[in-house]
Amino acid sequence: MTDPILTIKNLTVDLPEGGDRPHAVEKLSVDIAPKEIVCIVGESGSGKSITSFTTMGLLPKALKPSTGEVIFEGQDVLKLSPREHAKLRGSRMAMIFQEPMSALNPCYTVGDQIEEVFEQHTSLSKAERKAKTIKLLDEVQLPEPERIYSSYPHQLSGGQRQRIVIAIALALDPSLLIADEPTTALDLSTQAQILHLFKELREKHSAGIMFVTHDFDVVAEIADKVVVMKEGKIVEQGTAEEVLNRPKHPYTRKLIDAVPRRTGSVNAHMTEKHKVMEVLGLNKTFHTKGTMFKPSRTVHACKDINFIVHRGETLGIVGESGSGKSTLVKCLIRLEDPDSGSVIIDGSDIAQFTPKLLHPYRKSIQIVFQDPYGSLNPRRTIGDQLVEGPINFGEDRAHAMERAKKLMEIVRLEQDALYRYPAQFSGGQRQRICIARALMVEPEVLIADEAVSALDVSVQKEVLKLLNEIRDEMGLTVLFITHDLRVAAQICDNLVVMQNGEIVERGNVDEVFGHPKHDYTKKLLSAQPGQNWNVPDISKLPPVDPALLDQALNQPMGAVR
């Protein structure tokens, strides 16, 4: 093996006093060789981004590396002055970020933003810079490089913008490429393309790649080596083959065990066939007003949507961004008014009800939103927010509070949580609270709109389990909206796949995922990363080495909730 490009030795980065732990990163050591993709995996708060920022010299001012070395091309970058470190950035080491939508300056053309790298680090002429930039745009497989060159970021899609950011990173052929969750914010098919691009680039350039991610399927797709981090420490590292298939550390095992399987669940709980909700021929179009200079545009967000949901069923609505699934949800709960069609609940078509007529039906459909941080009012106690719904429907407060206490038990939170504020809870706990809030008015249908997408995998697994239990115990009907096929496979009985506002495929999970008929479904399935990896059955692995178990028990298990 060749000499490593980057050697991190014993790195410790201190957190400011008053944090939940003294170090953001503790005694971390990693090697990255040329043409090697090293994945750093961990849940949020594990210190994986801090590691990459330290290497790049982009740490926030409050954080300082206290001990250790980060040796890059023979010199310790921690000993460099900020100016010297800046000289390496963009030329010898480069970084790709998670949020392509905001990573580019809206005021300059993307061509200009790529050229800046040449301007800063080389003495090429204007024409040479442009020629190189066009070549780069071609290399990251953007169509019509000349046109893209003079486009502004807002004129490009998320995937295209991420390619621009990659082009910026590749501009001077750096020997180290750091990618911080580069595909997390992208759609499945865009993610597949970008991951493919990474693999190609590794072959063409000889860079070593540090790839930070939380997604084990992505790891399985591209990693050569895996480093698993938890609370600032490395708990396990090894080749991808070893770590993915024979994880040694209990924490790694727990994470891999939480990876959603790609096979459907057995839906034995469905016994009765009582129609709870029926949607018939639902249409919704949006019109942008035309002006003197621009023709009006019509977007068909929902085209002739039909489906039936039975009691106790979980129906998954799967689609990428822009597929119309969010508009459909808004029409179902009447946050948008459908243009035509029916939404029949309990024999009444609520699609065309006036707000007044609609009011009693409001409680029969409840929703849990994606962002557990934004959907609770930070200034009111959990209890206040839970009883608000029932009180609105005429229940007295004391009675509602009693039920709220019972629900806290069902979602596995302490009863005194009712007297606390949202800021005192973690993301997973907040999502449980949101579920409890939705259940307070005893709905018939619970809509989970990307309800687990923002959560770490292990937390995600818990919340999905909870949803399943509640459905079975309460005979609830769940509409599960998601872009994540694996999650859909885990929780849903039946699926509808949406594309451009239309349902293109439907059926039970095994039919749709096992024998997809529509091209779009096939494309979605093939875009799924980590297909060649058979997630190991953790229970069949040899027992954990007792030494590791002791170590794991002595650590506070902050991520287990």
Binding site: M56, G90, S91, S102, A103, Q113
Partner: protein
């Protein structure tokens, strides 16, 4: 971009037209202008004479279009008090006010933007505190008092600059400081807030990851984004300075348009008032238009017509 400019221009013209209609109808809202001219004890014949001369008894619409047509060709009627063509009066006085306005806004921008940027680069530092202090003082001091203090110190005690008049550039120093300082706090605070927000944006991190030097990050990437709302604010401030310079003009006896407005109001000189309102609002519209164009030039997302 051209379509955007055309649309903005069309909009500006419509606003100008509406403002002219309102400013004209002011004449009739204040009561019968013929009686106002002829005086309280005038006979019917006197009033008739005034009506014959000025044509107040014709339909308002006819009078409006006649006035508009004349205004467009530069004829704004005769001042009742000065008995001079209003256009001559205004051209004479406006040059003083325009000069004062431009000097003041430049002073304000040159003081506020560097201060705002410096404050945002090191929040809660000594520089930030000093900038906050300067801006709070500017907000709190009434401009007439500040003006008088400056006159006492710099004209009377030190004898450095003239206290009143508008004959040389030195006469403009104190009024510029007073009027410009008044506009400084808002611009500075907006620059600081904008810079702070932009500096934490993801694209600034991208710029740092490219290894750009900090000067380039500050001025090319951060300031351009932060300055956009400041331009809009400066346009409004500039409009305010033209119309609202009355106090400052009176203190320093600068005979500008603000002073003229005060004179015409106190003397019930309707044609002059009408013309001034029209001119001030035209400038307001012009500066807002200019700010829109500048903003679109700075931020491509605004160019979508």
């Amino acid at each position: 971009m051209y379509i955007y400019i055309l649309k903005r221009l069309g909009l500006a013209l419509l606003v100008a037209f509406t403002v002219s209609a309102i400013s004209f109808s002011l004449l009739f809202m204040a009561g019968d202008p013929a009686i106002a001219i002829a005086g309280e004890n005038a006979s019917m014949e006197d009033i008739q004479m005034v009506n014959d001369r000025y044509g107040f008894d014709r339909p308002i619409v006819v009078q409006y279009f006649e006035w508009l047509g004349k205004a467009a060709s530069g004829d704004l009627g005769n001042s009742w008090y000065f008995d001079l063509p209003v256009s001559d009066l205004i051209v004479d006085r406006l040059s003083v006010t325009m000069l004062l306005g431009l000097l003041s806004i430049s002073f304000a921008l040159l003081l506020a933007i560097p201060m705002g940027v410096a404050a945002a680069m090191k929040p809660n530092s000594l520089i930030d505190r000093a900038a906050l202090f300067i801006s709070v003082v500017g907000q709190a001091i009434p401009s007439f008092w500040f003006g008088l203090i400056l006159i006492v110190v710099f004209s009377i005690k030190l004898g450095l600059v003239p206290a009143s008049g508008s004959t040389s550039w030195a006469h403009f120093i104190l009024p510029t400081i007073v009027l410009g300082y008044y506009a400084t706090p808002a611009i500075m605070r907006l620059t600081r807030a904008g810079m702070l927000e932009v500096l934490s944006a993801d694209y600034i991190r991208t710029a740092r990851a490219k290894g750009l030097d900090s000067r380039k990050i500050m001025f090319k990437h951060a300031l351009r984004n932060a300055i956009i709302p400041v331009i809009s604010l400066a346009a409004v401030q500039m409009g305010f300075m033209l119309g609202g310079s009355i106090v400052v003009e009176s203190i320093f006896a600068l005979h500008g348009a603000g002073f003229l407005a005060w004179e015409s109001i106190s003397r019930n000189d309707l044609p002059t008032m009408q013309a001034l309102i029209l001119i001030f609002s035209m400038f307001y519209i012009f500066f807002t238009f200019l700010a829109d164009i500048l903003n679109a030039w700075m931020d491509p997302r605004l160019r979508i017509a």
